[in-house]
């Protein structure tokens, strides 16, 4: 493990922000830290970055402190610096030989490199923050909500950038956008009220939570189809799931795979789409944190 904590606890007065967290981050992984507001994600990242000191517990990072970088959720820089100067300053402080122009181009800021940061949009600041972080060639990269301020195109670029870092650096990112976490992370930790409720590969989190159900989108009317399906012995329930869409719970997916198309045809249904319901991180997250 490149990052590990044992019983990591942080208290602010009487408030316990982190309560005995045992974090284990494999080297080279992209680790997603998810949790509701106030779960302790930012505190945990600040502790890992050395910006705060733990109240109790142990924290081990198997690289030099200089090789641990933190990008806050809303990066800010002196507005009178240009984007290139920010990246050059970061490079100079880290004492590395990375090419600022290449890093700025990777962040999509090549055209704005010589503009003052005061004129940057929030999304550009986030990408500049990422560029200033990556230029230091960190071995552990801590990202606090890295895509929260970005438009869809910017978010896509940042996610691709993070995905490209897999194997080159260990990335720990916190995010409220669970789809992003599911897309780029291979390991996930679920925090709630300062406690780590789950930690491990995303596949392990989702396995065993598959629900035997189908989502069926139909041409209206749907009432007759729903009634016909309810009458079948291997259907355990049918509920509306959006406009002209039914959620059909079945006793087993295998049975549904062989019988559901025929049952729909017999009911006279005009099927637009038919797909098994796959569990996603959001469902599991809500289940764990509710």
């Amino acid at each position: 493990m490149i990052v590990s904590t044992t019983g990591l606890t942080k208290r602010y007065g009487t408030h316990t922000a982190l309560d005995g967290v045992d974090l284990a981050v494999p080297e080279g992984s992209v680790y997603g830290l998810v949790g509701p507001n106030g779960a302790g994600k930012t505190t945990l990242l600040a502790l890992l970055a050395g910006l705060r000191k733990p109240t109790a517990g142990e924290l081990t990072i198997a690289v030099a402190k200089r090789k641990v970088a933190l990008l806050p959720d809303t990066p800010q820089f002196d507005p009178w610096l240009t984007g290139r100067e920010v990246v050059e300053l970061a490079r100079g402080l880290m004492g590395v030989a990375a090419d600022p122009d290449r890093v700025l181009a990777d962040a999509g800021l090549a055209d704005a490199a010589d503009r003052r940061v005061g004129g940057y949009s929030r999304g550009m600041l986030q990408r500049l923050g990422l560029a200033a972080t990556i230029v230091g060639e960190p071995e552990v990269l801590l990202l606090d909500e890295p895509a929260s301020a970005l438009d869809p195109a910017g978010r896509r670029e940042v996610l691709d950038l993070i995905a490209r870092m897999r194997g080159h650096a260990t990335v720990i990112l916190s995010s409220h956008i669970l789809g992003d976490v599911q897309e780029v992370c291979d390991t996930v930790g679920v925090l709630r009220a300062g406690r780590l409720l789950f930690q491990g590969p995303i596949a392990n989190l989702l396995v065993g939570r598959a629900v035997p159900a189908y989502r069926i989108k139909l041409r209206p009317p749907t009432d007759g189809v729903a009634a016909a399906l309810r009458a079948l012995p291997w259907v355990t329930g049918v509920e509306p799931d959006g406009p002209d869409t039914l959620r059909c719970n079945v006793s087993s997916l295998a049975e549904a795979e062989s019988r559901l198309p025929g049952a729909l045809a017999e009911a006279g249904a005009r099927v637009v789409s038919l797909a098994p319901l796959a569990p996603d991180l959001e469902d599991v997250f809500l289940e764990l944190t509710s």
């Binding site: 000191k53 200089r66 970088a69 806050p72 809303t74 800010q76 820089f77 300053l89 880290m94």
Partner: protein
């Protein structure tokens, strides 16, 4: 790009260097001028029924006029400008950018402290030079040796003032809070300087030393304040480094 250049750019691009130089230069030019022509100005402002008779100005009057303004308005500007650089934890996101990229807070603190002290000293020297020239032209040449000693004492006081800002900024987080608390601390010291035996020991006494020494004060009388200022400046910088290292972001 280094932190030294960052601090230089902060002064230049935000016009803070211009503000410091302009304030000291303005008082350097207007101080002796006001003293030289005060009688005429008051005479023209009067109604004719009141006659102003002032003693003929001497070089020390021109210098004292500059020192009086510079030690108040000039110091205010120096403290505000210094606080804007030394309160580097005022914005958490900007503090994260710097603090996660250096091994010790001293690496951030020293350039900010040094560059702002140099800027303050440059402004003060410029103002003294302007005062010297104006006084020599309008009133009479001040004694060179005494001017240089007073200048050195003033420079030491400015270094102490900037170190005070650094120490305060390591305890309070905001820029305005750092400037405000620093000014209050310097004001309290100035008040303490009015207490008999403390007068020659408090660093704020050095702020007005230039005017007094050019007039007739003995430079040796200020040596206790010089010693205290040097020691306190070192302690304040050490304090700022220690407290800055302990602070959580």
């Amino acid at each position: 790009m280094t932190l030294w250049r960052l601090e230089w750019l902060r002064l230049v691009r935000t016009r803070r260097l211009v503000a410091i130089l302009a304030v000291y230069l303005f008082f350097g030019i207007t101080g002796p001028f006001t003293v030289r022509y005060l009688g005429d100005i008051l005479g023209r402002a009067g109604t004719g029924r009141i006659k102003f008779e002032l003693p003929p100005p001497v070089p020390a009057d021109g210098i004292a006029q500059f020192v009086g303004n510079a030690s108040q308005i000039g110091l205010l500007v120096v403290v505000l400008v210094s606080a804007s650089a030394l309160a580097f934890d005022a914005r958490r996101e900007m503090a994260i950018f710097l603090r996660t990229r250096v091994d010790s807070v001293g690496r951030i603190l020293v350039p900010a402290l040094a560059v702002n002290t140099i800027a303050a000293v440059a402004g003060f020297v410029l103002g003294v030079a302007a005062t010297w020239y104006e006084t020599a032209v309008l009133i009479g040449a001040p004694p060179v040796g005494r001017m240089l000693i007073g200048l050195a004492y003033g420079v030491l006081f400015l270094a102490f003032a900037v170190a005070t800002v650094a120490a305060v900024a390591s305890v309070v987080r905001g820029t305005l809070a750092a400037a405000g608390v620093s000014l209050v601390a310097l004001l309290v010291l100035a008040v303490l300087g009015n207490i008999g035996w403390l007068a020659h020991w408090v660093p704020t006494g050095l702020a007005g030393a230039l005017g007094a020494i050019v007039r007739d004060a003995d430079p040796v009388d200020y040596l206790p304040a010089v010693g205290v200022s040097i020691v306190l400046t070192g302690l304040l910088i050490w304090f700022a480094t220690v407290m800055g290292s302990r602070r959580e972001i």
